[in-house]
Symmetry: C2
Subunit: 381 residues, 2 copies
């Protein structure tokens, strides 16, 4: 079963990637050299995006190029870290054990600003949908840091008719709910924009720190000289990649996929009002599968190159798990905003609807994952 996904593409017209041929032995077995080549390529990409990030003004201007550069930086940091983990028997242990937490710190720090922006975008989009698409202005999560687009006055555009005394006896309370959506949007905008601004400062500080320069130096070394163990060059990489896949399939086997495959099972909202403030424990195994799926994908890239035909099943499953994570965090942000002291009941009501909406997105993502995973393996040629 595990071996199935590790077989190279069998399409005879595709031919082996030029990039890879040097790292395969006569029988086509991927050896340690393929790992060295992959790590060098990722390290080079890391340094390239770091240079681009600095040239485009760094994180201080928030331009599209700068955002792309930060994303590429995180992307290569994740791949280096993941490969060090999967293939750790082949690498100098002190060096690789020291490097992984530093890469995790860096990509985590850089990811946070983007995550808050995306979360706000998701929540304001949902509020718009729930309000019939016209009560709130199109949100602008891509706005430069420090500006609050959905200010209370802007999002309250429809609330004028609900001012006390103006409307009929039924329009008043109705209007209150819509005002609730607008106020909820303004509250989330304020809280998540503040969090984003703080994450931005933290990222700026991190990129100027000596800790960051030490990481960058290590990656620069990696770009020229991968610290493989003496035996690594002639070692078959497939057993380690297969072990990564086994960890993934074991974790997936432990997921409640039968429930997830039954539409509208109402599982994701169970405990939606429980006393626990911690992230929903039911989400954790899914988040874990998301990370293991990623490690499995990177291992495939090491063996067959980044140009290796994509496994559409892995892609679809990964997208479902990203959506699962995003919706779970958005639901949590809505619940957290509802705990703000002295908010109006209408605001709290809108946040409750929003929370439940995002928890249903969580459930929908699990359903989508289950569907994707049950598909036969199909590879694009």
């Amino acid at each position: 079963m595990a071996q199935q996904h590790l077989d190279p593409p069998t399409d005879p017209t595709a031919g082996p990637s030029r990039k890879l041929s040097a790292s395969l032995d006569q029988g086509g077995t991927p050896l340690g050299d393929a790992l060295a080549e992959y790590l060098r390529a990722q390290a080079t990409e890391f340094l390239r995006s770091l240079r681009q990030h600095r040239e485009t003004g760094g994180t201080s201007n928030g331009s599209a190029e700068s955002v792309d550069a930060a994303r590429a930086l995180r992307r290569s940091a994740r791949r280096i870290s993941g490969s060090l983990h999967t293939f750790r028997p082949l690498l100098d242990p002190d060096w690789s054990e020291g490097m992984r937490p530093e890469l995790a710190w860096l990509s985590g720090t850089l990811a946070r600003e983007h995550a808050y922006a995306a979360r706000l975008e998701r929540l304001l989009g949902a509020l718009n949908r729930l309000s019939g698409s016209s009560a709130l202005p199109a949100q602008s999560a891509a706005k430069p840091v420090g500006q609050s687009a959905a200010s209370a006055s802007a999002v309250g555009g429809r609330s004028a008719g609900a001012e006390p005394g103006t409307p009929g006896p039924r329009a008043q309370p109705a209007g209150n709910l819509t005002v609730g959506a607008a106020k909820a949007g303004a509250l989330l905008d304020r809280q998540l924009t503040l969090a984003r601004t703080r994450a931005h400062s933290a990222a700026l500080q991190a990129l100027g720190s000596s800790r960051f320069h030490a990481v960058a130096d290590s990656v620069a070394v990696l770009a020229s000289e991968v610290p493989l163990t003496p035996a690594a060059t002639a070692t078959d990489l497939r057993p380690m990649a297969a072990a990564a896949e086994d960890r993934l399939t074991d974790a997936i086997a432990a997921l409640p996929l039968v429930t997830a495959g039954h539409p509208y099972n109402a599982e994701a909202l169970v405990h939606g009002l429980s006393a626990d403030t911690a992230p929903q424990p039911q989400d954790a195994p899914w988040h874990q599968v998301r990370l293991l799926l990623r490690l499995h994908r990177y291992a495939r890239e090491v063996l067959y190159g980044e140009d290796c035909p994509a496994d559409v099943r892995l892609l679809a499953a990964g997208q479902a798990l990203n959506r699962h994570r995003d919706a779970a965090e958005a639901a949590s942000a809505a619940a957290s905003a509802a705990r703000t002291p002295r908010i109006a009941p209408a605001t709290a009501y809108a946040l409750g609807v929003l929370h439940a909406d995002q928890r249903h997105e969580v459930e929908a993502a699990r359903f989508a994952f289950q569907r994707a995973w049950q598909l036969e393996v199909v590879r694009t040629p």
Copy 2:
């Protein structure tokens, strides 16, 4: 297409129901006599349940027998009214046009008390589920009228730990949400129990009114003498039953079934926070199909008898539409409770979660209807 559902059961071992044989001509065509027989049987059932209702103490004690009798009374009232509508060309027009609104008034009045009790049961059940099944006591919607089981002190059993000053800095707001669920339950219990008590009084008053006695007298006449038009006895009933089925299939064809068949389409919660207090306009076509499905079922009963093998597809579709109606009304009750002045934000939040939960039940019911309706016609033997 329409004719398909009106064909009698073809299972050769089943044989025609004895009850019906008198109303079929030599070729097995159901004629006007079948309608008269059906109306007489329903009128007799109406009078029997009315007698039982009085003997079991009427609506004043709320015993199981009394509830069953009221249900049987409504059941026959709906069947008489529906048949008068579908087969109106065969009946004295003045009499039948005068009788239908009176039957609708009666069954509507009797249905209300039960509807409020069922709605409260559904909402408290959902709150229990959302609170992790232990924050609220098992609700008791079957309790005698006038007693509020889930009083604030009873449902707040878990709230002691969240009293100001007692818990740690994070336990406090978390506890508030659970207190919100308990308070939301108590609020709904208060509002729906009050509504139920009023409905109960209205039903009592209706059963003692001269208007009711006039309806009962009309039904008593019907039990012995159905006012058919002179030509009715020899008239084939099938074209009128087919017209009822056509109205159903036309209304179903106008439903957004493609969307409904796509799980997690998030349609039911669109406008969940819009300014409109009226019942969701998107629900109306589904409610209409529910009524037309019922009329179609009754027409089949007229043609083939109540003992006619059930069409499992019709049963499943009808159950889905009942669930759709119940969830829509429960969602509306939660939204309405959230408009109560001076409620705590935590209460409003819980009501928002509850509203969204029930709107997702609406969506799930549409999905179930779509599934049931797409099934091939299968009849139990």
